[in-house]
């Protein structure tokens, strides 16, 4: 019997913070609000660290029951928490990165009128995300899953008076619903066939099952449906379309929710369900294919984007694709490893981008930046670390995790050289568009507005402490400064810490330590065979492949340097000569328009004519009105029972009693 760790406190702490700020924040000073928000998210992080320190004295997986919840016949789902190496890792990443972004948000959102609302939502998000990660059964996980979706909706639409923000929030929510639908059906199937959603009991039942080699079976269906859910939450093909739009939210939100934590929930869920996927090889292959295609597809779109946050958004989709690729070749620990390093460097990239946007007064178009390294050195250097990390330069974090994935994609029995090749091509493109961003933003001459021009004019009417939802700019910080300026300490500090992590974060995997740490979780035979065949394929191949991926990263850097630093006029000419291809990429392959024409418009039309006018107005309202009218009539006549007359009341009681006795005598005689 291992001691109780009171794991429930970890998610509850941020919830308390959210409640305090949500209820009383508006009447408190900004200092108090930020104190509360940081204290509670920090406490959750501290508790997570403490739990990590206790790990050696625990027998994992460690289960804790907070309270019984749903009992229906034999089915049982409780408020139970589940701690193993995987959830511990997620716990540390989520609470750690979350805490840093809370700090950063204080600086970033300070002038916003909705400061306390923002902090409250952020804490609320932490609550749901930590619930998701710690849940001991799929149902509780689903609550967290839906909860992060809700928080994400609230935060994307944080500046809800702006039309684009409000509709981006709706888009994210609706697209996620499609994924959740798949997830839910998977859960129903699990309940129907295994009668439990508790991880411990469920996996015990699944473990002895044989892999469904020939085609599809129950587990394949469940696996595919789970992947639908994961594709929604983690923005994979074909449900990725909401993530770029989600950049309408404040930048810390993009960093926390749409890069570091929430969008990785799908990867976590697939890894958590690995026993199901292991026994459903065809589902696994689908996961790998979706991941690989998404990685490449999103990366190519990233090349042509000009909005700094949009580039990062497509890059996030692409990196999530890598993680699914890893899971799809049954190299779950590689996927989770990339999840962790990605949380560091992508969180950092977004925060740094936020710092850039902050510095240039709300501008997000990279064509209006340039030469910023002189003005904002801290941001520049931290972003440099992150850029080299994501591009896969050794010895930075991204190199280790990406290389691990590529290697496993090649060597795993579920893998193939095709996955590897696409992965390397994607790595090259990643390196290219990231350095394009880097050169456009920090090098060359400052192309932005000077003190007297647009930025100033746009912000001046709104005054210094402009009321938040300013329709004119994205992340508007109406400072009215003309020259870019460095962000305050409270924003720089998280940047610095994340930069260190992006640098050294990959070293934990040297010598296979990371994989060994997670091995007990993914111990299922299949992962062992992955490791085996990796060993068989041999070290020399591994070295060769590593060399190729480094070469891809370097050539991406070189190409970006040549096009955007050496010959800045060239890209426009190339784009012109490419003509239709460039336009297609620039317009994100028209996927949004396609969805609009094929799904949204017909649905809208059908809903309007059939569901609204036909079903709702005619059928339902009509029936309801008739029912309500007749109910009123009956009600009126029933009311006459209530004469207020005592004798008639006694009469009713006596009549009732007479009826009861008459019936019972009749029943007794019979």
């Amino acid at each position: 019997m291992t001691p109780s760790l009171h794991l429930w406190l970890i998610p509850i702490l941020p919830l308390v913070g959210a409640a305090i700020n949500g209820l009383m924040g508006r009447r408190c000073s900004r200092h108090a609000v930020s104190g509360v928000a940081v204290a509670f998210s920090g406490a959750a992080f501290a508790m997570a660290l403490w739990v990590a320190s206790q790990i050696s004295s625990l027998s994992l997986p460690h289960l804790e029951l907070l309270s019984p919840w749903i009992r229906a016949g034999n089915f049982q789902a409780d408020f139970a928490f589940f701690l193993d190496q995987l959830s511990l890792l997620m716990l540390l990443v989520v609470s750690g990165v979350g805490f840093l972004i809370h700090l950063y948000s204080i600086g970033y959102m300070w002038d916003d009128a909705g400061f306390s609302r923002f902090m409250s939502y952020l804490n609320l998000f932490m609550f749901f995300m930590l619930t998701l990660v710690l849940a001991g059964n799929y149902l509780l996980m689903f609550i967290g899953w839906e909860g992060v979706g809700l928080s994400s909706y609230l935060l994307i639409g944080f500046w809800f008076t702006k039309d684009s923000a409000a509709s981006a929030g709706k888009k994210a929510f609706i697209v996620n619903r499609i994924g959740d639908f798949g997830f839910l059906i998977a859960l129903f199937l699990l309940i129907k066939h295994f009668n439990t959603l508790n991880f411990a009991q469920l996996f015990e039942q699944i473990r002895p099952l044989q892999p469904e080699v020939a085609g599809a079976g129950l587990l394949t269906a469940i696996g595919l449906l789970l992947m639908v859910g994961a594709a929604g939450k983690s923005a994979q093909i074909p449900l990725y379309v909401w993530l770029p739009d989600a950049m309408e939210g404040p930048t810390p939100v993009s960093a926390l929710i749409h890069a570091a934590t929430m969008v990785t929930a799908g990867v976590y869920m697939v890894a958590r369900s690995h026993l199901i996927f292991d026994r459903a090889p065809s589902a696994l292959t689908v996961v790998a294919i979706i991941g690989t295609l998404t990685a490449l597809f999103a990366a190519t779109i990233g090349i042509a984007q000009t909005d700094i946050k949009k580039v990062l958004a497509y890059s996030t989709i692409s990196q999530l694709g890598y993680m699914f690729m890893a899971c799809g070749v049954a190299a779950y620990s590689a996927g989770v490893f990339h999840l962790m390093t990605h949380a560091f460097f992508k969180g950092l990239l977004f925060l740094a981008a936020g710092s850039v946007i902050h510095a240039v007064g709300g501008e997000q178009d990279m064509r209006r930046m340039g030469g910023l390294r002189k003005y904002i050195p801290w941001t520049f250097w931290t972003m440099t670390v992150a850029t080299f990390a994501i591009a896969g330069f050794p010895p930075l974090a991204g190199f280790f995790s990406k290389d691990e994935i590529l290697w496993k994609a090649y060597s795993s029995p579920h893998g193939s050289w095709v996955f590897w090749l696409i992965g390397v091509v994607t790595a090259f493109i990643t390196s290219f568009y990231m350095f394009r961003l880097w050169f456009l933003t920090f090098f060359g001459e400052y192309r932005g507005a000077q003190p007297s021009s647009k930025a100033k004019l746009a912000t001046e009417p709104a005054a210094h402490d402009s009321h938040a939802p300013d329709p004119h700019a994205h992340d508007n910080h109406g400072h009215g400064h003309g020259t870019p300026h460095e962000s305050p300490m409270i924003m720089v500090l998280p940047l610095a810490i994340l930069a260190v992590l992006s640098f050294v974060g990959g070293w934990v995997a040297i010598g296979g330590r990371f994989e060994r740490f997670l091995a007990p979780v993914f111990d299922s035979g299949l992962t062992a065979s992955v490791a085996e065949s990796a060993a068989e394929t041999g070290g020399s191949t591994e070295t060769l492949l590593m060399g190729i991926s480094i070469a891809a990263a370097v050539s991406g850097l070189f190409l970006a340097w040549f096009l955007y630093h050496r010959q800045p006029a060239l890209p426009a000419r190339i784009a012109a000569s490419l003509g239709g291809v460039y336009t297609a990429v620039y317009n994100k392959y028209y996927v949004d328009d396609l969805y609009n024409t094929v799904f949204v418009k017909p649905l809208l039309k059908g809903s309007t004519t059939v569901l609204w006018h036909g079903v709702d107005q005619a059928a339902i309202d009509g029936t309801v009105n008739v029912a309500a009218d007749s109910a009123r009539h009956v009600s009126d006549s029933v009311r006459h029972m209530q004469s207020g007359n005592l004798r008639s009341y006694a009469g009713w009681v006596a009549a009732g009693a007479a009826a009861v006795i008459a019936y019972i005598i009749w029943a007794g005689v019979r």
């Binding site: 029933v638 209530q642 009341y649 006694a650 009681v653 009693a657 006795i661 019972i664 007794g668």
Partner: protein, 499 residues
């Protein structure tokens, strides 16, 4: 016949009743010594302390389950559940009354005493397993309520309420007593365990059927189920709002406890259709009549009839899930209804002037907190998730479905839909209508704040974490179904002769 002197354990098993009665006496004795102002404050405090001590005593009593006083009283999880529930209700009602009495300018003295005495009767009803003792307990609680209902002495409607309640109540109690007498005639005993053994051993005499029917009439009156519900709206309308809260939850819970014991422990044949019809009638009549009410207190009276109907559905189901669902329902209904009446009694103002639906217009803007809490209670009454009302209905209907009661479940669900209309009407009034005229809503005093907070917490707790309470109810149900194995030492023959 072994006639023993009562042991200490016997007294512990009626400790809550003793404590409540003691504090009731203290209140009565102190009352003449204090002036008006002092009596309101001090006596309320003493009564609250009494209720809390009663709650503590109930928990203590739980440590020593078993029979007491020659098998007349049984302490088991079932009675502990209702003891805790009723003392908690009483505590919250006293908190609500605190300010209410001042606003209504009612001299408090015996008011608090009567509440505590009523509580003695209610708690005793849940642990008595001797029909005569049950009758006495029922009378103790009823007579206190008759008096309490007439406490707004300056209002004619209050006196009317009291008188009607008294006359009809006596009428109905007579049925119950007659049933007890017939049962004694049929089985030679008034002890529930002995009766059930006798019925099992010798077959069911026809007289027992009638006895059960008569007892059902009496208890059906107390829980306000159709067709014995006619008194409810008039009585609730006239009685002081906190007392309505007590009557509609505490007295009802106690009556349901008796009904559970009588119906399930004395496994009576022929009860099924009685309950079925009564449940269907209560739900339908209650909800339909509530649709056209303009007076919030009357509306809640009809709603309480409807809820008695939902609860009876559980009685028609199989014992295991049925009993536990019924117990859960009483608890969550108590939480939300006491809360709703607490809001009503605060908003009503002096002489309960503001009790019509129109008065609630715009409350959402005038007093957001009050409106928000009332909304939570109303949503729970509808049965919306994350409130106790949802799981209460869920467990009742799932118990009914498991027992194959498809039609009754269907009637219940349809009725829930009808019910949503009039609860939502109040919410619509509060948030979407402009206030007519100026109604000043007084600040929420601390005592009422605590009462409301407790009710909200209980409502949400049961809606989010129903597991613990339900587990407890399930355990109680199992114990109730096998009383002979549970707690009884080789029993001496019940002391019928001493009655």
């Amino acid at each position: 016949m072994t006639q023993t002197i009562p042991q200490v354990a016997d007294y512990i098993r009626i400790l809550p009743e003793l404590v409540l009665a003691f504090f009731g006496l203290v209140v009565m004795v102190l009352d003449p010594l204090l002036d008006d102002e002092g009596s309101r404050k001090t006596l309320g405090g003493i009564a609250l302390l009494g209720a809390l001590c009663g709650l503590g005593a109930s928990l203590w009593m739980a440590q020593s389950p078993g029979l007491a006083f020659w098998n007349m009283v049984r302490v088991d999880s079932f009675s502990v559940f209702f003891h805790v529930l009723i003392t908690a209700i009483v505590a919250v009602v006293i908190l609500t009354s605190y300010e209410y009495m001042a606003v209504q300018r009612i001299r408090a003295g015996e008011y608090y005493g009567l509440i505590l005495f009523g509580a003695v009767g209610m708690t005793l009803m849940s642990s008595a397993v001797e029909l005569v003792l049950i009758f006495i307990a029922l009378e103790i609680s009823s007579i206190s309520s008759y008096v309490l209902a007439g406490f707004r002495r300056r209002e004619a409607s209050s006196s009317e309420s009291s008188l009607k309640y008294f006359l009809l109540g006596s009428f109905a109690t007579a049925f119950f007593l007659y049933g007890v007498a017939l049962m004694f005639g049929a089985t030679g005993s008034t002890n529930i365990t002995a009766i059930s053994q006798a019925l099992q051993a010798k077959g069911v005499p026809r007289l027992a059927y009638v006895a059960v029917a008569l007892m059902f009439v009496g208890l059906g009156f107390k829980v306000a189920s159709a067709p014995f519900h006619v008194w409810t709206p008039d009585v609730y309308e006239g009685a002081p709002a906190p007392i309505v809260a007590l009557m509609s939850t505490g007295s009802k819970a106690a009556a349901f406890a008796v009904l559970l014991r009588v119906m399930f422990e004395i496994n009576t044949p022929g009860r099924f259709w009685l309950i079925w019809v009564s449940a269907a009638l209560s739900m339908t009549l209650g909800n339909l009549s509530a649709l056209v009410q303009d007076n919030v207190k009357r509306l809640l009276a009809y709603s309480s009839i409807a809820h008695a109907g939902y609860l009876l559905v559980a009685f028609a189901a199989q014992p295991g899930p049925g009993i536990s669902a019924a117990m859960f329902y009483t608890a969550s209904y108590a939480a939300m209804n006491v809360g709703a009446f607490a809001v009503v009694s605060h908003f009503a103002g002096a002489e309960e002037r503001y009790v019509t639906l129109a008065d609630y217009a715009g409350l959402g803007r005038r007093s957001p907190l009050l409106a928000a809490t009332l909304t939570i209670f109303l949503l729970s009454l509808i049965g919306i998730p994350i409130t106790g009302g949802f799981f209460a209905k869920f467990y009742v209907f799932s118990a009914a479905l498991k027992s194959g009661l498809v039609w009754l479940t269907l009637i219940g669900l349809l009725n829930s839909a009808i019910g949503a209309y009039y609860y939502l009407r109040i919410i619509v009034m509060m948030y979407m209508r402009e206030p007519k005229g100026e109604i000043t809503v007084r600040r929420i005093p601390a005592s009422l704040g605590v009462a409301l907070a407790l009710s909200v917490l209980a409502t949400l707790y049961l809606g989010v974490l129903p597991g613990r309470v339900l587990d407890f109810a399930l355990r109680s149900a199992t114990q109730l179904m096998q009383p002979h194995r549970a707690a009884i030492t080789p029993a001496p023959t019940p002391p019928v002769g001493t009655m």
